[in-house]
């Protein structure tokens, strides 16, 4: 009798467990094994045991630096734009229009990111916004193939992933708490900082995590809008596996990326937990 629920749980977890084993754990082990090997004579992988690939990581430092600056920056940019939007959708938007507005947030996802990035290439390219600014006498800035262009692409592509978790946490927020704060003498901005913001932190944390993790592995946006000048680790991997066919070195770069990600995400989780947990012990503002 006591064993049966346990079997049932195991049965329910089996598909997910098998999936994780086959698609995550085993490939990761392969990557780690490969990372200690050598490039085969005709490319690919040749078995060996050497630390050369890891010692050589410094040659891809630019890619790591770009990823580690653009991913947090892109996450922050998404957050700054998504929060007011989520606030409007959850707090201000008429209930009749809310569903429609929410759908509009995800409508861009209905088209391939490739096509949408092409659109941005045109918009940010010489024929697009720069020529418009030029016509208005505001100079002719170079936009495409800059970190700015990559940032625009990131915000455009990842905004919904940030909007939705924040929207959900704000929508679930008991509006009477804001009324209670109002009643107790708190003006609007303080109500936001003391009540709404701390209580929507779970949504903010989830959104940031989603966007940040996906950005760490991004390669399409920098490739198309960065024009090879804003090079991410993802681009380095594409290059190593598909162009120079150095699978061993590519595996070392991939393993290093996973490690960096693990460290930053763990640090981030610690930080958010402490921030959210510690707030109520101190007087706010």
């Amino acid at each position: 009798m006591t064993m049966r629920p346990r079997y049932r749980t195991a049965l329910f977890l089996a598909p997910a467990g098998a999936w994780f084993l086959a698609m995550l754990v085993l490939p990761l082990l392969v990557v780690i094994v490969y990372s200690f090997g050598e490039r085969g004579p005709a490319g690919g992988y040749a078995p060996a045991f050497t630390l050369d690939n890891y010692l050589n990581l410094g040659s891809r430092w630019t890619a790591f630096r770009n990823t580690l600056t653009m991913a947090p920056l892109g996450t922050l940019a998404c957050l700054v734009i998504a929060y007011p939007l989520a606030w409007f959708l959850a707090m201000r938007a008429d209930a009749r229009w809310r569903t429609l507005l929410l759908v509009l947030v995800i409508v861009p996802f209905w088209t391939s990111i490739l096509i949408r990035s092409y659109a941005w290439i045109f918009l940010l390219g010489g024929q697009g916004i720069p020529s418009l600014l030029n016509a208005l006498g505001l100079g002719n800035p170079r936009l495409i193939n800059t970190p700015f262009a990559v940032l625009v692409g990131i915000v455009y592509g990842y905004l919904p992933l940030m909007v939705f978790p924040i929207y959900v946490s704000l929508e679930r927020l008991d509006k009477r708490l804001l009324e209670a704060a109002d009643d107790l003498g708190s003006p609007p901005m303080r109500r936001f900082l003391q009540i709404a913001l701390p209580l929507s932190m779970p949504g903010v944390a989830t959104g940031c995590m989603l966007v940040f993790i996906l950005l760490m592995g991004e390669f399409l946006i920098p490739a198309m809008l960065g024009g090879g000048k804003v090079f991410f680790v993802g681009n380095a991997l594409v290059d190593l596996f598909l162009q120079s066919r150095n699978w061993a070195f590519g595996s070392a770069v991939a393993a290093a990326l996973v490690l960096v990600m693990l460290i930053t995400v763990t640090a981030y989780m610690r930080f958010t937990r402490r921030w959210a947990g510690g707030r109520d012990d101190v007087a706010l503002m």
């Binding site: 708490l177 003498g185 209580l199």
Partner: protein
């Protein structure tokens, strides 16, 4: 600068609140006296919550004025009004401790009071609601009754001119509700703060309030002390809301000098004071209210002077301890209730279902009311 005691602490003057075509409150006129315990009583959707929210500042009247201490405050937002509220489900801040919840109001003041002062005030507030030492607790560690007392302490710490209570007892079980009612009353007496309560529970309103404002369909129907409302209801609605009563529809057969008579089905006459708000003329449709305790159930009709008696058949008998409640049937009047005291039971003997007898009432015991 003492304000004269006669000036009401709050007033609604012709206050109305419309949401498009929906009328939440219409032409409310009410003066709330300093230090009184006033209840808004009525079913959901009657406008009682809207009235309270207009006093708190969450709703701005579409027409008319809200006055606090003689000042028009229509455009003053809630955070600038000297009133505080206990919310229906308490609305305690879940991310703060009990102490931080209670201290919230004080910490909003500018200049901000020193933390030592805040801490002392919080401790005093916790003692006042009998929760000493509970400051460091989390909200979810508190029971429903404790949460309610935290909400009370949080609202009272700012020493509001009026404490507004929005169905504060709705989420409590019956025993706890009783204790809380007594506690609230004691607190109100000792603090001398004006309490305004919103409730749909007539017992709660009757037991706690100095005055009750009965509402229906966004309008005030009657304002008065519990005894006033019980003894002199203006219409069937009030009589039905405040205590139990029997109603007999009919036409006014005599009127004059504040008294009159109403003839109901079968030519049976009910005589008594008239408390209609509309002008009543002979022949007008009205209703007679006769409290169950004002009717006697007898074995045989003793034709006493100034009494009316009709034959009835007992349908059900419910023993209530001090009283016994009979539901009786009359061919013309239909079913109605009789409340017999122990003494009456002892004199007449108890009746069982199916027994026949006579229902008798003193002339003048009825009350002629508006039939709405």
């Amino acid at each position: 600068m003492e304000t004269p005691q006669t000036q009401p602490i709050a007033e609604l003057r012709d206050a109305s609140k419309h949401y498009g075509a929906v009328v939440a409150a219409e032409g409310l006129n009410l003066a709330i006296q300093r230090g009184e315990f006033l209840s808004f009583l009525g079913p959901s959707g009657c406008g009682k919550t809207t009235a309270l929210r207009m006093l708190a500042g969450f709703e701005t009247p579409t027409r008319g004025d809200v006055l606090l201490d003689g000042q028009r405050v229509n455009d003053l937002p809630p955070h600038r009004r000297p009133v505080n509220m206990v919310f229906q489900h308490y609305a305690l801040f879940p991310h703060m401790t009990v102490a931080d919840n209670i201290a919230y109001g004080l910490r909003q003041r500018r200049p901000r009071p020193p933390e030592a002062e805040v801490a002392a005030a919080v401790e005093r507030a916790l003692e006042r609601v009998r929760l000493p030492g509970y400051g460091p607790r989390r909200i979810w560690e508190m029971s429903g009754g404790q949460q309610q007392r935290v909400a009370l302490a949080r609202a009272l710490i700012n020493q509001p001119k009026i404490l507004l209570l929005d169905e504060p007892m709705a989420a409590l079980d019956k025993n706890l509700r009783r204790d809380m009612q007594i506690e609230l009353q004691t607190l109100q007496r000792s603090l001398g703060i004006t309490f305004v309560l919103v409730t749909h529970d007539q017992e709660e309103a009757l037991s706690m309030s100095d005055r009750i404002c009965i509402m229906r369909g966004g309008r005030i129907v009657q304002v008065g002390s519990p005894r006033d409302l019980y003894d002199r209801p203006v219409n069937r609605y009030v009589a039905d809301f405040v205590g139990k009563s029997n109603f007999f529809d009919g036409r006014v057969s005599r009127v004059g000098g504040g008294a009159g008579a109403l003839t109901a089905a079968g030519g049976i006459t009910f005589a008594g004071p008239v408390s209609c708000t509309r002008g009543v003329t002979e022949g007008a449709a009205a209703t007679a209210s006769l409290r169950p305790e004002d009717i006697a159930l007898r074995r045989r009709l003793a034709p006493a002077a100034g009494e009316t008696g009709v034959p009835v058949q007992v349908r059900t008998r419910i023993f209530l301890g001090e009283h016994t409640e009979y539901l009786v049937a009359h061919p013309d009047l239909g079913d109605f209730l009789i409340l017999a005291s122990r003494q009456a039971e002892a004199a007449e003997g108890s009746f069982g279902p199916g027994d026949t007898g006579f229902a008798a009432w003193r002339d003048g015991a009825a009350r002629i009311l508006d039939n709405d």
